[in-house]
């Protein structure tokens, strides 16, 4: 009996909180959709989202496909969430096209939604928060060109062929090196964002090319795999990755990598979540918040001393004007 009354009390509390919430527009429930549990990028994004929600007195629930980057799983989570009716949604689509039916359902249910990181093809969003893969890759590629003094032989190790992220990154790399006529692109080979495959691709390419001065890798996991391949063969090349992950920061500090293009995942998580809460509270949000391409390199290492789990979001006004 005691148990029962406790439960009723809890229920009452929930009810009052709910009413309370409506009155002062606080404690909004925000559903955050990311692509997978394994990529540090999304981990940092989620931490940013949590930090922002905490600062603004809202709460987050994370929806992550158990099978990494699973489109059907993300779509079915959207079905569940639409029924639960959170106040707002932050959505990183696993696939910018395949997400359309999910976005339509969210729109039909009149739930405020912000699109983050990868731009969805259609649907009504409060705004878009992200960085351009192309710009990030271009900035990282330019860092390599600079370090090589505009001269040398370079290879590109790509992610998964046919994905928009990879296409943009490779295009950014290529455009950056094309600016210097004395840089020769020896090969551009895919390694599917996989550490082991990148190591093997690099080992294979070293058999054909006796001299490789620089390597552009489409993510940091591949970049560190490439660093191991070079070290194993007692060879040296300047390596550039993308993501600005903790691992890359350490590798840059140790001199194993030259640089990593950083798409500011923590900040993306912060500002996507702040945007959706502001939109729910009928406060103004800009149509787009695009973070400029940042490159982690020896000179900017100091900014990366604090890991994402210890950071907190900067204020809205510090970034959005």
């Amino acid at each position: 009996m005691k148990f029962k009354s406790k439960r009723i009390a809890l229920l009452m509390m929930g009810l009052t909180l709910g009413i309370h919430g409506n009155v002062i527009a606080a404690n909004e429930k925000i559903a955050v959709f990311t692509k997978n549990q394994t990529n540090p990028f999304f981990q940092a994004f989620r931490l940013g989202a949590d930090s922002a929600a905490k600062q603004m007195g809202a709460s987050t629930t994370h929806y992550i496909p158990t099978k990494p980057d699973s489109i059907p799983e993300q779509l079915s989570s959207i079905d569940d969430v639409v029924v639960k009716k959170p106040n707002g949604i932050v959505l990183i689509p696993v696939d910018y096209k395949a997400i359309s039916p999910g976005v339509k359902k969210i729109n039909e249910a009149n739930i405020t939604v912000v699109n983050a990181t990868d731009r969805s093809e259609g649907g009504n969003f409060a705004n878009f928060v992200g960085a351009h893969d192309y710009n990030t890759a271009f900035a990282a590629g330019t860092a390599l060109v600079k370090a090589l003094n505009g001269k040398g032989s370079v290879i590109i190790v790509e992610g998964v062929r046919g994905t928009i992220t990879n296409t943009d990154r490779v295009r950014g790399f290529k455009n950056a090196i094309e600016k210097s006529p004395d840089i020769k692109l020896l090969a551009s080979q895919p390694a599917n964002y996989q550490r082991l495959q990148a190591l093997q691709v690099m080992e294979n390419l070293m058999q054909t090319y006796p001299k490789i001065d620089g390597v552009l890798a489409a993510n940091d996991a591949m970049a560190t795999g490439i660093a191991e391949a070079l070290e194993g063969a007692n060879r040296k090349a300047l390596i550039v990755g993308i993501n600005g992950s903790k691992e890359a920061v350490e590798a840059i500090r140790a001199g194993k990598m030259l640089a990593s293009g950083d798409a500011a995942p923590f900040l993306q998580g912060c500002f996507a979540t702040m945007s959706v809460i502001r939109a729910v509270r009928k406060m103004p949000v800009p149509k787009e918040i695009i973070f400029p391409a940042i490159v982690v390199e020896k000179a900017t290492l100091a900014n990366y001393d604090l890991p994402p789990e210890k950071q907190s979001c900067p204020t809205w006004e510090s970034i959005v004007r």
Partner: protein, 319 residues
């Protein structure tokens, strides 16, 4: 002693010979196309790359010989690597890290074996379920983080050399020879073939089916655990999903090598040949710098042609 159908059978040897011929054929083709291919360095490179795949596939060969499947090998590699890596970093002891990897792999194998024998689940379901459980635990445990930076002494097993030859190649040879002897010349091995060919006859002729199946899944777990250590030592880092991309190639290596999914037919040497074919495809494509958009197509065609060639040649030899 029951008579085991596949032993002393020249067909088996012939099939192996033809598959070996495919490997040689690919090698000759590649050495004409690129000067970089037929060098001592590159051949050692190919063997080293194949060794990781072979390690995983060798234990899997035993499972498939019993007409079962182990879909959890990749997830096993991921979990064992993360656990062993954590222990390595925490204790600084190579021995402890090594034991952790092997034990983790073996325990996962034992769990698979119990699901298959005790609960009589089909191996596909049991190990597919296990795959998800392992992923779930590993992803939760790692929370998107990467572990890296292991000691030189540990890294020897992945990136070291003995007498100018990479250490993983010795491991591959050890498992190839001991695995082949185990399968061909021990009662255990023969019982595994018998069990795969016909479990009912095997049981009636006194093969302890449950215990043999348990052994086979544990061995598959152990080789996955060992592969995870080689992986760690080679790459000096690990994250939760490292094994994911290795499951299907490992199964493919076993099947390309001539082991039947229906059990009872296959050899370790065949599995090595399968691993070599898959490795040569990537090596060749990189060396020739084949356009990235075409690589998937080329891989598919070579896998199908390599097995088809064997079938065609075999049919001819029968006539």
């Amino acid at each position: 002693m029951p008579i085991f159908p596949n032993l002393n059978n020249s067909d088996e040897l012939k099939a192996l010979f033809y598959r070996l011929f495919v490997v040689i054929f690919i090698c000759i083709g590649l050495s004409f196309l690129s000067e970089a291919f037929l060098t001592v360095n590159n051949l050692l490179n190919v063997l080293r790359q194949a060794s990781l795949l072979f390690l995983m596939a060798s234990g899997l060969t035993l499972v498939i010989l019993t007409a079962g499947i182990d879909l959890s090998v990749g997830a096993n590699v991921g979990m064992s690597a993360c656990l062993a890596g954590t222990v390595l970093l925490a204790t600084g002891s190579t021995t402890l890290g090594f034991l952790t990897g092997i034990c983790c792999g073996a325990l996962i194998g034992l769990a698979n074996g119990l699901l298959v024998t005790l609960l009589r689940l089909p191996s596909f379901i049991a190990t597919y379920g296990m795959l998800w459980i392992l992923h779930g635990i590993t992803y939760y445990f790692m929370a998107g983080a990467t572990i890296n930076g292991f000691s030189k002494s540990f890294r020897m097993i992945g990136s070291g050399y003995w007498f100018g030859i990479p250490v993983p190649i010795y491991m591959m040879l050890f498992f190839l020879i001991s695995g082949s002897i185990f399968l061909r010349y021990t009662i255990f091995g023969q019982q595994i073939y018998a069990l795969g060919a016909n479990p009912v006859t095997a049981r009636l002729s006194g093969v302890p089916v449950t215990r043999r199946l348990l052994l086979v899944y544990i061995l598959s777990g152990i080789t996955a655990g060992l592969a995870s250590l080689v992986f760690l030592a080679r790459l000096n880092s690990a994250e939760g999903d490292i094994g994911e991309a290795l499951t299907l190639p490992a199964i493919a290596a076993v099947l390309i090598g001539g082991t039947s999914l229906f059990g009872g037919v296959g050899t370790m040497l065949g599995t090595l040949i399968g691993a070599l074919i898959l490795t040569l495809v990537l090596n060749g494509m990189n060396i020739l710098s084949i356009d990235g958009n075409l690589q998937a197509l080329v891989t598919g065609v070579i896998i199908i042609v390599s097995v088809l060639l064997d079938l065609i040649l075999r049919r001819k030899s029968v006539v």
